[in-house]
Symmetry: D2
C-alpha cells in the first residue's frame, strides 16, 4: 500500500510503498479515507530534538484519521466491517493505575500511532478495537480531525462553560475548535486572542464574540473591559507562548480556571503568589482526550449539529503532496489541513 | 399605595390601599413595575390547606417582581437609587449552618415575601439589600419572572448539560424555561413531555427538539427511541405528577441524573431497587435558587441573549385584574402571567 | 475439582466434582483459597423468584473470593503466576456507553460469576485478567470479602466524609464495613442503627461512636440529638427496610446526601416533596464497585492498616459445610462468613 | 486597654495603651484571651516592602485570636455575651461577585484585621458578627490558632484525601497542621519534608508516616520509593521555596493534585510542559479559609477530637513579650507561638 514514511534518522518524509498490515486478535483493519496533518508531523519531518529522541524509523507517520473498517481480527465486539470510524491514536496499557481509574489519557505506557508505531498516513492502518469510534454519520473528513478537536473538547468541557466568559488564547486549529465548543456550550461571551489576523478571522467565524490581536492590543485590558473588570471565568491557553501564559493568569478572574494545552518550550518564570495563589485559581494540564468520555461527548456535539468544524479545515491535499501540506502549516495562516487518501 | 392583599383567613384576594413601607437599615424601597403570578398565589387565593397552615393575614401577596430602587435605608452598599432591579424572594437568616456554608437556598429559617411577610403585588416593596440584583439592562417584565426562571436554572445547570440528552417532564412555565436553558447550554437533544398541546407548542418554541404528548404517547418509549435505547442523561421532573415521576426514573439512562422540582401531593410508591439503585443514578431535590450563583448565571444568560424567555410570558394584566390572572392559570393553557404595575 | 454447584432448577446446593477450567486468552486460572458467602448465595440456594428468573443450572456458585494465580492464558499483561489476588465478580462488556465512560459498574451487559457463569465456590476459577487485583500482602481471607467491602467503600467514599456526621442504617456485614470506612476517613461522628443487638455490638467494635437499636429507640430523634438538631450530613442506607428508608430521609440534614445500597422488596411510598425536594438533598443509588477506583482505594486502606475488617468475619467453614454457612446467615446474627477452600 | 501597636512607619512594634473599642451595629466586642503570632506580624514588625506598601500606622496588629464576647452591637443574631469565640480575620464586602457566589475568601475588597484595621493583639477587639465562630468547647488557646489551622484545612480538604498518599512540603506550623489533618482524613500515607530536623520531628508527632530532610535527602526519590514509583496523589506545598515547588511537581503522580499555599518571593521558572501539562495535574491556589465551610469543618474536627493541634503550639508569651515571640519565630525552630492575654 502507499504510505508516508519516516524512512531514516534525518529530515524529510518519503511517500513510498509498504506492506499492507493485518489485524491481530482484538484489532481491526481500517481503510483510511481522510487524515489530519498536525504540528507533530512537522516536528517529525524536520527531525527536531524531540523527534530524534522518540522515533525509531522506519515508520509510517500520521495519527489523525478516519476511514472504513475492512477487516476484523478475532475477539472484536461491537464493531463491524463497513463501518466508518475514527480512532483515538493513544494506545494505552490498560493495567496501570491511571488506566484502571478512568485516566487512561495519562497512561505512562502510552504508545502513539505515527510516533511509536505505524500511523495513519497510509491506505490502511490496524488499530485496537478499543480505540475505535464509529462515526454515526459524521463525514470522514470531519472524523479525520476529531483527534485535535478532542483536545479542544477536553480543554473546554472540563471547565464550567454555561453562562461563563471564556478567553481562548491562541487561535490555531485547536483554539478555533475551542471557540466553537465554548459557544455551543452556552458561554455568555467568548473572547479569542492571537497575533495573526487570518486566525482571528477564523475564530470569529467559529463564533468568538470578541477577538483581540495580541500583536497590537492589550489582551488583558480587553478582557477586563469586556467583563466589567472581573476577568474571564475560564481561560484556555492554547498557544504555549510565554507572554500568553502571563496573559492567561492576568485575565482570569479571582477563583477562575486556567486550562493549559499549549506547550511552552523550556521554562517560563511566573510569580506564583500573584499569578496563581492570591487569585485562588485552579490550573489544569490538558493532555490528549479523556478515554472515552471526550469522544462520546464530541460525537454527540457533531451528530447534533452543535458545532460545525468545517471552517477550520482550510486545506486539502492528496497523500503524495505531504510536503505542500507541511509548507501550509509552516506559513502560519493555515487552519486544519487534511490529506484525502481514498 | 395600591396592593393585592390576603385580607382574612378565607378564600379570595383583595385589591385595596395599604401604607407605603419604609426601608430599615440594610433595606431598599423598590417601586414595583412588573410582577409575576405563580401557582403559589393561586393556593393563597384559594386558601388551601397549605395556605391555612402557613399564612397570617392580612398580608400583601406576590413574590416575583422587578422595579426601580427609589429609596435606600442606612448601611446599604453596592446599590443606588434609580437602579432597575429584581430580587430573591427568600429572605434567609444568614447564620444557620446552611447559610454559612453556601446553601442559603435551604435555610431552615427562610421567610418568603408574599407568604411570610408583605410581598410584591403592590406599588412598593422593601427588600433586604442582600436579596436585590440589578437588572443590568434586562427589561423589568423579564426581571419579574427571574424567580421562577431561577428555579429552572437551578434545576438544569446543576446537571452536566453540554452534549447531553435532556428530558423535561412537564411544560409549565418553569419547564419551558428549562427547555430554553438546556438548549442554550448545549444539550445535544432536548425532549419535552406534557399532556397539554398548548404547552408542548410553547416548549417547541423554546427549543425542544422533540415533544411528546404524555396523554396519548409513551414518553419512556419515545425517549429510548430518541437515544438509541440508552435513555436521557438528565431528566428534569417539573410536573409533580406521580406517573411522570415513574417516567423520569424509567427514561433516565444508567448512571444518569434526575432533578426533582415538581412537588407531588402526598406519597408516591416507587420501586427503589429498580428505579434508582440498580440504575446507579443520582437524584437531586431542587428548592429555590442558589444564593446567589443562580442569579448571576441567569443574569449573564439574559444579558448575553442566550435565552429569550419572552415567549413564555403569555398574559399581562393590570394589578386590579388579579382574578382574571388567576383564572388564566386555572385554565391550564397559560405560560407565565405578569401584572403590569407601573 | 471440588465445587458447590446449583445442579438443577430446585432448592438446594450440591457439593460435587466438576472439571477444572482452563484459562482462555486474556484470562487467568486462580486456585481459590477463601471465598465469602453472601445473601445472594442464599437466594440461589433457596431458589427464590429472582434466582428462578436469572440462573441457568448447572452452575458453580459463589462470587466473593481470593486465591493464587496458577496459570495464565495468552495475552495477559501485568499479572504473574504465584500472585495472591482477589477479583471483581462483575464481568462487563467494555464497549457500552457506561463501560466507555468510566461507569463499568452499571454496564448493562454485566455477567456475574456464580450467577451468570461459573463462580468461586470451587478449587479453581478462571477470571478475565482485567477483573483481577493483586492483594499486595492483604491476607486471602480478607481478600475474599473485598467484593462486599467494596460495596461499602463505594457507598461511603462517594460522599464527603472528613468532618461529617455519618448515619449507617443497617449493620449487616456491609453496614459494619461502612462504619469502619467512615471512621477511617475522618467522620466526626458515626451513628449506626439496627434492630439486632449483636450487629450493633459489631458496629461499635468497628468504630461507631453511637449505636441505636431501631427496635426500641427512635433513630431519627437520636440522630437529631447527636447533631444539635441538624441531622446527619451523610446517611448510608444499607438495610432495604421501608421504615429505615423513611428514617434515612428524616435523619439527613438539609442539603445532605443519602446513599442507597439496601434493596427494598417491591415499592415503598415516600413523600417526595417533604422527604427529598424541600430538603434539597442528593440521593445516590449504589450498585457494585467502581471499576476499578473502588478496588484501588480499598487496597490502599487495607495495606495502610486504616481499616481492620477481620472482626466482621464471624464464621469460617470448609467448602463441604455450605449448608451450615447458609444456616448461620439465616440466623441473622452472623457477620461475614467465609469458606476455607485451600 | 493594653495593645501591641504599629505606631509609625518604621521597624518595631510598641506595647502601649489605646482606647477600648465599641461595637457598631452588626459587630461584637470580644475580650481577647489568646492570640497567635504569625509570620505576617514579623513582616509588619520588620517593616518590609510589603508592610510599607500596605499598612497605615498607627494600628493595633495581630489577626489570630480567641476570646469572650463581652458586648454586642445592635442587630446581631445568633451570638450571645459570654460565648467563647474565634473569628475569621478577613472582613469581606459581601457584595462582589466572589462574595455573592460562595467565594468570599477571594473577595477583592478584603480588609484584614491587624493589617488594614485594628487587630487582635489587645485586650479587646470589635469584629463583625458574621466573622465570629463560637468555640463550642474548644479551648481559647486552640481557638487562637484556628486562622492558620484553617489555611491547612482549606489546603488539605479541597483535595481528595481518604486512601491517598499525601506529601506535605514544608513543616512550619501550617504544614504540621496539614499533616495531622491528612492523617485524620484517612490518608493512606503522609510524607512530610523540610530542611529543619526540629520541624520534621514535630511533623512526625503530628502523624507523618515518613519524613524526609530535604537538606540531605532527595525528596522526590523518597516519594517515588514510598509509592511504588507512582508519586503522591496530593501534594501540599507549604514552603514557598522555589526548589520545593519543583519537588512538588516532580513528586505528584500523573493526574494528581498540587495545592499551593506557600508564597514564593518573586518569580520561579518552571517547565509547564513537563511539570504540569504532560502530567495532567490540577494545581490550586489556596488563599485564606473558605467562608465559612472551612471553619465549620475545622470546628467539627476539633470538637470530635480528630486532631490534637496542641503539639504545634511550642511557645507562649505574655502580651508585653512580643519581641521575644518574634525572636522565636526568627529562630526557625518554633512551631506556633501564642500570646496569653487574659
Amino acid at each position: 500500500m502507499q504510505a508516508i514514511v519516516k524512512a531514516k534518522r534525518a529530515p524529510g518524509l518519503t511517500v513510498t510503498t509498504v506492506p499492507k498490515p493485518t489485524p491481530a486478535p482484538g484489532e481491526v483493519l481500517i481503510a483510511v479515507r481522510h487524515a489530519g496533518v498536525c504540528g507533530t508531523d512537522l516536528h517529525i519531518a524536520d527531525w527536531d530534538a524531540w523527534a530524534q529522541g522518540r522515533l525509531k524509523p522506519p515508520l509510517v507517520v500520521g495519527h489523525e484519521f478516519a476511514g472504513e473498517i475492512v477487516a476484523m481480527g478475532d475477539a472484536v465486539a461491537g464493531l463491524t466491517t463497513g463501518q466508518l470510524v475514527t480512532a483515538e491514536g493513544h494506545i494505552v496499557c490498560g493495567h496501570c493505575l491511571q488506566c484502571r481509574t478512568g485516566n487512561g489519557h495519562i497512561c505512562k505506557n502510552t504508545r502513539i500511532i505515527g510516533v511509536d508505531r505505524d500511523g495513519a498516513f497510509a491506505e490502511y492502518i490496524v488499530m485496537p478495537a478499543t480505540n475505535v469510534l464509529p462515526l454515526n454519520g459524521i463525514p470522514t473528513q470531519v472524523g479525520a480531525v476529531m483527534d485535535p478537536m478532542g483536545n479542544a473538547f477536553h480543554t473546554v468541557l472540563t471547565a464550567e462553560i454555561p453562562g461563563s466568559t471564556v478567553l481562548v488564547v491562541g487561535c490555531g486549529p485547536i483554539g478555533c475548535f475551542a471557540v466553537g465548543i465554548a459557544r455551543a456550550a452556552g458561554a455568555a461571551k467568548v473572547i479569542a486572542s492571537d497575533v495573526n489576523a487570518t486566525r482571528l478571522a477564523l475564530a470569529r467565524r467559529m463564533g468568538a464574540h470578541v477577538t483581540v490581536n495580541a500583536a497590537t492590543d492589550d489582551v488583558v485590558r480587553a478582557v477586563l473591559d469586556e467583563t466589567g473588570g472581573e476577568g474571564a471565568d475560564v481561560v484556555c491557553e492554547m498557544s504555549g507562548v510565554p507572554s500568553a501564559l502571563h496573559q492567561a493568569f492576568a485575565a482570569v478572574r479571582l477563583g477562575g480556571r486556567v486550562q493549559l494545552l499549549g506547550l511552552p518550550k523550556g521554562e517560563v518564570a511566573i510569580d506564583f503568589a500573584n499569578e496563581i495563589i492570591f487569585k485562588g485559581i485552579t490550573v489544569y494540564g490538558v493532555i490528549g482526550r479523556r478515554m472515552y468520555d471526550t469522544w462520546h461527548q464530541m460525537r454527540r456535539y457533531l451528530t447534533a449539529g452543535l458545532l460545525d468544524p468545517t471552517p477550520v479545515i482550510t486545506h486539502r491535499f492528496p497523500l503524495n503532496k505531504i510536503d505542500e501540506a507541511l509548507a501550509a502549516i509552516r506559513s502560519g495562516d493555515a487552519g486544519k489541513i487534511i490529506l484525502e487518501i481514498a
